[in-house]
């Protein structure tokens, strides 16, 4: 064996994109379920959307869009061999991800306080369409929140790798792939905002 290390960055990105395809199909199935249920229970979905805090949903959209910007800027920084900026941008992304989860936590806490959670006695008294709405709301925003949590963990590892020099100007495919994951999480939220928070 020589010191030559084989690398296939295109192959690595293709692998990441194929994983993202499975994520798109996963959430796509949920969006299809939402579409059918909204068609079946239009009034209940309209009323259910009115129960959600649209302002928090819009703030969280701006938070995630900005985090998407900062993660892509971290890649630009590493391409320019600016390690400090890359770490700063990644730290900002991680911070914004945490802000998103905190806001989401407050939002869910308010719903729980009003007896709107899966299997809650109060939820059981609501019309079936509203039960379906909140079932989809908790499933889709919960699954999305889980992805945000995974994304934050991945970006934390990547920031550390930038710090140690494992990710650098001539070797940053891991950062690109981590960024791709974070952007997809952003894209999913772009669809969740109008479907749930602006539904009323």
């Amino acid at each position: 064996m020589t010191g030559h290390v084989h690398r296939d960055d295109l192959g690595a990105r293709l692998g990441m994109w194929l994983f993202l395809v499975t994520e798109m199909i996963l959430f796509g199935g949920l969006f299809i379920a939402y579409s059918y249920m909204r068609y079946r229970y239009p009034a209940e979905f309209h009323h259910g959307g009115g129960e959600l805090n649209a302002t928090l949903g819009i703030i969280n959209t701006i938070v995630l869009l900005t985090s998407s910007l900062t993660v892509v800027l971290s890649i630009v920084a590493i391409q320019k061999a600016d390690k400090r900026k890359a770490i700063a941008f990644l730290a900002t992304t991680i911070g914004l991800g945490l802000v998103f989860l905190v806001i989401k936590g407050f939002e869910w806490a308010a719903k729980f306080h009003h007896g709107l959670y899966p299997s809650a006695p109060h939820l059981g008294t609501l019309p079936q369409g509203e039960q379906v709405f909140f079932g989809l709301y908790f499933t889709m925003t919960g699954l999305h929140g889980l992805h945000v949590l995974v994304g934050i963990s991945v970006l934390t590892v990547l920031a550390r790798m930038v710090g140690t020099g494992s990710i650098r100007q001539d070797r940053y495919i891991h950062l690109e792939n981590g960024g791709l994951y974070w952007h997809l999480v952003d894209v999913i939220w772009i669809f969740l905002l109008p479907l749930f928070y602006l539904a009323a």
């Binding site: 998407s68 960024g179 602006l198």
Partner: protein, 103 residues
């Protein structure tokens, strides 16, 4: 970016070919404006809200895919993977609504 190096020797000419900070900041501004328009459209009644959902939201997602996810700089292979996926999802949606229409 599809012509990225395939070994450990990354040539520096790629660095100058990469986009700078400016283009991504412009895209972010566009995304925020589109979000504002989406929220605004939801205040003008159901038909405007649905119009906003069906037009502004895919445009926003497209901007993220094309610029932030670097599809603009990728080759036909990765672009094809994404287009086939989106096409498959659209077929699923079409099948659902064609089924619903005949019930």
């Amino acid at each position: 970016m599809s012509d990225y190096t395939h070994d450990s020797h990354v040539s520096t000419e790629h660095a100058v070919a990469h986009p700078g900070y400016g283009i991504f900041i412009k895209v972010w501004v566009a995304l925020v404006i589109l979000t504002g328009l989406l929220v605004l459209s939801s205040h003008f009644g159901q038909s405007y809200a649905v119009w906003g959902l069906l037009t502004l939201t895919p445009i926003k997602a497209g901007l993220v895919f094309y610029y932030f996810m670097h599809l603009k700089y990728e080759g036909a292979l990765l672009k094809g993977v994404v287009l086939i996926t989106i096409g498959t999802l659209l077929i699923f949606f079409a099948l659902l609504f064609s089924d619903v229409a005949f019930h």
